[in-house]
Subunit: 415 residues, 2 copies
């Protein structure tokens, strides 16, 4: 595929499409599901790449010079990976990212207008990862995209990508699952549960009914939930290096949380300042009900659901797969990716499990694009044989769950 | 020392002593600090062992047949370790445990009556680990106990024990620090900060003023804080084994936290049920302001404070020390204990770092008494040469921070 480095790679579509009636996995029906998406580059019939966003991400995966005041993952969250000349090169590929149902960036969710003209709130149907996948499939139908050259997803977006291989195995040629897993473990389920309780315990949450001018929003609860998220996304080592036990200036103390006289005797630490800042920024950009809905979808996802095993769930998939994991990620661990790689191997799906040495924790998939880009780009271009792609299975073949693996650190940043 | 196995070991004192005026580290003065303690066995002038409790523990370290409705660490929290014929044998030793200032089990704290006859609330002076140690010293003076045969502490109680070696190095012969560290790392500081924000964000906290009949207490915020604690105390492996992704019965859903209709589509999991139960039980037994005060004291503790290093802080200590750590503990890690062992070694304090293979997380020091008892009991009896005591330094001597250590698993349960 030629790399023209001309204007096509800079072409951006940004739209909200009413895909009509949609039956959710719960059985509830929405007469008019609206789906917000962005697409970059030009579709040539065979070059579509679907990128699935993380929990609080948006369809705005790449920068296109029109960014406004949005922040966090609402703003070009993979701008170093997707774009003209980037790993997912929009000169070559038609890259589509779809905001998932239940979210709050244009796709229907709890904050959207319900049948009575008021926001749905928690009357919005429960949402699952299957619902995300099916809504994406229908949006792609609308766009005239059949088979996808690749589906790529990070974190819970990786679960979304895996779900494509189960629900629409014939529609995906290459599947890249970054910093993800076949399912959350008990510890992460526990942390998510506490995060939701922080939101629902905030009196301003009010059963999910807090929308409208002059109404107080559950910012404190949502802020706590976000702080828990950040604690999960960072590693012990990265926190120690970034913040240690250092004090922040008193002037930095945010007003996001109440305090008391006795607190003033103790230092306000950089780690607190960071977490308070993140809480405040997040409450400005995300909807508390969406956080409840999307974490429930993530918690609920289990690759093997309805099958005897993860391998059985993947048996119909005939494409190739790349798994990228990060050694310092305790949210979605390298062991979980290796177990998933074993499932692919058992059903003879060509798979590479590329382990990145990193102490950035789960956050690495966003903050270390120089480590993610090369294997991801080469895989999307050339499959598991791609130059920068490494694999934990030395023989690249036989399944062996007990086998130790030696992560090979990629230093091929030549793309 | 003979083991008589007669009634003396069953003797229990339980009292609250007014130790008079006490100047806190903050400079604030309490005219009448009340200190609650329990003591087991009989003092013979040389057999006193001070046990320092964990964050939410109480002076009630051992069972004595008078337990009432209290639960959790308020109830005989080390009853399998301390007692007649146990590792810390109350037939031999006079074991004292003192509720720390700032707590809520009889020693003065935010819930105690202040000068105006009302509870102090957050006007109670800020409390540090140094304040705990000095209050303990004064209580021991009152009891006629000078030099201690041993100081033993688990978790933040281990920090309290370390502080004894710094503040009163001549008063301690043997020092046992279990599942603890010279200071909290950044990740734990972050989690504690979020826990405190959960409390202070609860409107019922009301600036710390919530005492009195018919007043709502910040149970939701305190419950969230406790849930974070449990997430820290358990390991990924132990949670996976205990709860996995299993559903609990719907009937088990607690009423501690509000929920919404969309939640009902998803399973209520065992991990949630466990966390909700723990939240509810904790709010019944602990004071929210005390949780703020004691976590701040823990966060603030730094062994090297006022010294050039941990080793320098320990230089005046002429006794022996045992450190016990647990491989699955990510709150207070084996690495932190090994670093602390290095500090002792550098100033030629005889030290043994006994590593216990365990996947129980931080909780292991409470739930695996069969692994803690033998090394602890033998150490208190015989010092670092005690039979069940192992050490990470194969030569038991020269400091070598870079040295790998092979944990030796003790299977000597013969005591």
């Amino acid at each position: 595929m030629s790399r023209t480095r001309t204007t096509p790679g800079r072409r951006v579509e940004s739209d909200v499409v009413d895909i009509g009636e949609h039956e959710f996995e719960s059985g509830e029906i929405l007469p008019d599901l609206k789906v917000a998406y962005e697409a970059y580059g030009e579709f040539d019939g065979q070059n579509a790449v679907l990128v699935c966003h993380g929990l609080t991400g948006s369809q705005h995966v790449a920068g296109h010079g029109t960014e406004s005041g949005v922040s966090g993952q609402a703003r070009a969250w993979w701008g170093d990976i997707v774009g003209p000349g980037k790993a997912l090169d929009t000169n070559d590929y038609y890259v589509i990212c779809v905001n998932v149902p239940g979210s709050c960036y244009g796709t229907s969710g709890p904050a959207s207008e319900g049948p009575d003209g008021e926001p749905w709130g928690t009357d919005f149907p429960p949402v699952t990862v299957h619902d995300w996948t099916r809504a994406q499939r229908r949006l792609l139908d609308h766009l005239g995209v059949g088979r996808l050259h690749a589906v790529v997803g990070g974190s819970v977006g990786g679960m979304n990508a895996l779900d494509w291989a189960v629900q629409f195995p014939d529609d995906v040629e290459r599947l890249a699952v970054v910093a993800s897993a076949a399912r959350l473990d008990s510890q992460c389920l526990g942390i998510d549960a506490v995060a939701r309780r922080a939101i629902t315990s905030d009196p301003n949450w009010n059963g999910g009914d807090y929308y409208g001018e002059d109404r107080a929003t559950p910012d404190a609860g949502l802020g706590l939930a976000r702080q828990l998220g950040h604690l999960m996304y960072l590693s012990k080592d990265s926190m120690e290096r970034k913040f240690g036990r250092r004090s922040a200036g008193r002037g930095d103390r945010g007003d996001a949380f109440p305090s008391d006289p006795a607190a003033a005797f103790f230092p306000y630490r950089e780690v607190e300042s960071y977490l308070d800042y993140q809480a405040e920024k997040f409450a400005e950009r995300f909807d508390a009900n969406s956080y409840l809905y999307l974490t429930r979808a993530m918690d609920d996802f289990d690759l093997s659901e309805g099958y005897e095993s993860d391998a059985a769930a993947l048996a119909a998939f005939e494409g190739e797969s790349l798994l990228v994991s990060f050694t310092g990620d305790w949210h979605f661990t390298t062991e979980q990716s290796e177990s998933l790689a074993g499932a692919f191997r058992r059903v003879d799906v060509p798979v590479a499990h590329h382990v990145v040495e990193s102490d950035h924790g789960h956050d690495a998939f966003l903050v270390e694009p120089e480590k993610v880009g090369p294997p991801l780009g080469d895989f999307v271009d050339e499959g598991v044989a791609g130059r920068a792609v490494t694999d934990t299975a030395t023989d690249g073949g036989e399944p062996d769950e007990e086998e130790d693996f030696a992560p090979v650190h990629s230093s091929l940043f030549s793309r």
